[in-house]
Amino acid sequence: MATSTSTRDAYAPPPGDPQREQRAARRQLWRSRLWRFDDKASPYAYIAPFFLVFAAFGLYPLIYTGWIALHRVEMTGLDRMEWVGWGNFDRILHDSEFWTAVSNTFLIGVISTVPQLLVALGLAHLLNYRLRASTFWRTIILTPYATSVASAALVFALVFRADGGLLNWALHFVGFGDTNWANGHWTSKIAISVIVIWRWTGYNALIYLAAMQAVPNDLYEAASLDGASRWQQFRKVTIPSLRPTILFTIVISTIGSMQLFGEPLLLEGGALGATGGNENQYETLSVYLYNYGWNLGHLGPAAAVAWAMLALLLIIAAVNWLIGRFTRTSAA
């Protein structure tokens, strides 16, 4: 602003030269208009960057994906688009590998999310005690969160290796030392879930802990006056108070498990990783999309996979909403 005075209040100039007075009044009017404009427009200017970036790199590509899904586009010639209508969707929906990837994504999602959140809940409960060096413990359980997907997947690949893996060495003392983890349908899914659980449990535990510390103490006092045991207090006071937080973590973890990519890709690495194992036993939707688009070079079907993922997300959201409604009405 190039205004010379530093006050916003109108001040009356000493009466004198009428021309100067007019000029001053005009200036005053102009300035107050500027102020008003500043007040009106500033908030929009401040939030504009987010919406501009999202529109350009989030929303527009999201819609454009649907358009690409109706075309044939090859990695070798990105600017050539050839109309194929529903062809790509046809191709995918008739591909058994796609359905394998759907069920894998779903199964891995369940066996990584459920134990993760249960353990996180217990861990938060532990951290809620008065502890020595409480910050130290909190930092320790958060370190896996600072480890990248790639590093975590690679070190766990070493742990789960069939020959010379750390886990098989540990298990051979109890006579299970020759499991080929990545090859089995269930064992490979468990291996991937372990990577996810390791990385995210501490993070979720801290979120629960924050919510637990926000529960008013009077509730516990009242409950213990009523003769509730510790376990009953946990069930009847802590869990209901955490309900919104638990819902939030379920949503976040579900979205996260839809996106699993690095863990399956790097569990065995190489060509096996790109197809999610020798029988696609741990291929997730993201890996399937990557394999179609970036390995085989067919971007049209890859875009169709993206839209199929969107459809799945919407179905999950609808189911979630229905369950939520059902439990709310039954609770009432």
């Binding site: 602003m1 005075t5 006050t7 500043d38 500033s42 908030p43 929009y44 401040y46 939030i47 960057p49 987010f50 919406f51 970036v53 790199f57 590509p61 454009y64 690409i68 586009v73 990105l78 409960h125 005690y129 008065r130 409480s134 910050t135 930092t139 958060l142 896996p144 990248s148 790639a150 590093s151 690679l154 070190v155 766990f156 742990v159 010379g164 390791w198 501490g202 801290l206 637990m212 510390q213 103490n217 516990y220 006092e221 409950a223 213990s224 802590t238 937080t245 939030f248 839809m258 996106q259 690095g262 690495g269 190489g270 993201s286 688009g293 971007l299 875009a303 993206a306 993922m309 969107l310």
Partner: protein, 305 residues
């Protein structure tokens, strides 16, 4: 969280209660762990969880400092060996690590700087300014969190090659300049930490909005900006999916280089682990130094959902 007193000078940082002060011990038995001292069982369980959290990282260090044969021997080694620097040198030559590190620093630093700048502005607007559509615009920001990046990577890849950024760092930096989480995080913080009186006072002194941002909002927001900066940096540094699709072997970030190293024909596991160690080490250092702040940030930003 408590409200800070309105009479605070703008330079003073609002006190953030780290832990709720223990209230008066009641005569009645407290329950459910509230104010209860942790017993030996709690410590034992925490030690088990702590070892589980750190063991894979320790194994990374052991594997990175041995030969592959030692790592995959029928009885694995338990202590780090002396081959760390040889392995690092080999990884450096094989996987273009030098360039990858520079790239990762450039990408993470630019994303962090842009995120801090834009998210603080947007967070301030959503927290303290009145404007038409504020409510549903904030809802829209949070709703964008639910969209997985997978849904838009195909056109994004085509767009980037159209823009001439195919395989360039710009293609990784630009889509993540502002984060919805960051906007939400700054808003939550500023709602409580920035009293209206401060803004009013600055207005009466004739400051325009930009002036208010620079001399009132930024000083108050600094602690939250530090935490958001660290969280954003960690996320940008560790990002894998989109960079892996967007960048190529000649110009990778550290994570992409790691992925490519392990995808090569017969990767030497100890070399791969040396790369993994390099990629994890800087963040571990940040965690050791600022762990308390990051923990506090996650705990304050996550709740109230």
């Amino acid at each position: 969280m408590t409200m800070t007193s309105p009479t605070q000078a703008p330079q003073a940082l609002p006190p953030k209660p780290e832990r709720r002060t223990p209230q008066r011990r009641s005569r009645f038995r407290m329950g459910a762990g509230q104010q209860m001292k942790g017993g030996p069982f709690a410590y034992a369980a925490l030690i088990v969880v702590g070892i589980g959290s750190l063991l894979p990282l320790y194994w990374t260090l052991v594997a990175a400092s041995r030969t592959q044969d030692e790592v995959l021997a029928s009885t694995p080694p338990f202590l780090p060996g002396g081959r760390l620097f040889d392995n690092l040198r080999t990884a450096w030559e094989q996987a273009n690590l030098g360039k990858a590190i520079v790239n990762s620093i450039v990408v993470s630093a630019s994303i962090t700087a842009a995120t801090l700048f834009f998210c603080t502005l947007a967070g301030y607007a959503f927290a303290k300014m009145r404007f038409r559509g504020r409510g549903w615009l904030m809802t829209a920001v949070i709703a964008t969190l639910t969209i997985p990046p997978q849904l838009s990577v195909v056109p994004l890849f085509m767009m980037m090659s159209d823009l001439g950024w195919g395989g360039q760092l710009e293609s990784v930096i630009f889509p993540t300049l502002v984060s919805a989480f960051g906007v939400f995080f700054m808003r939550q913080y500023l709602i409580e930490a920035l009293p209206y009186e401060l803004i009013e006072a600055a207005k009466i002194d004739g400051a325009n909005n930009l002036r208010i941002v620079v001399s009132v909002v930024l000083p108050v927001a600094r602690p939250a900006m530090m935490v958001l900066g660290m969280l954003t940096f960690v996320q940008a540094w560790n990002d894998f999916f989109w960079p892996y699709l967007a960048l190529n072997q000649q110009n990778p970030t550290l994570q992409v280089a790691l992925g490519q190293l392990s995808a090569s024909y017969t990767p030497d596991q100890s070399i791969v682990m040396a790369g993994a160690l390099i990629s994890t080490l800087p963040l571990l250092v940040v965690f050791v130094l600022f762990g308390k702040k990051i923990v506090g940030g996650i705990m304050s930003g996550a709740v109230k959902g």
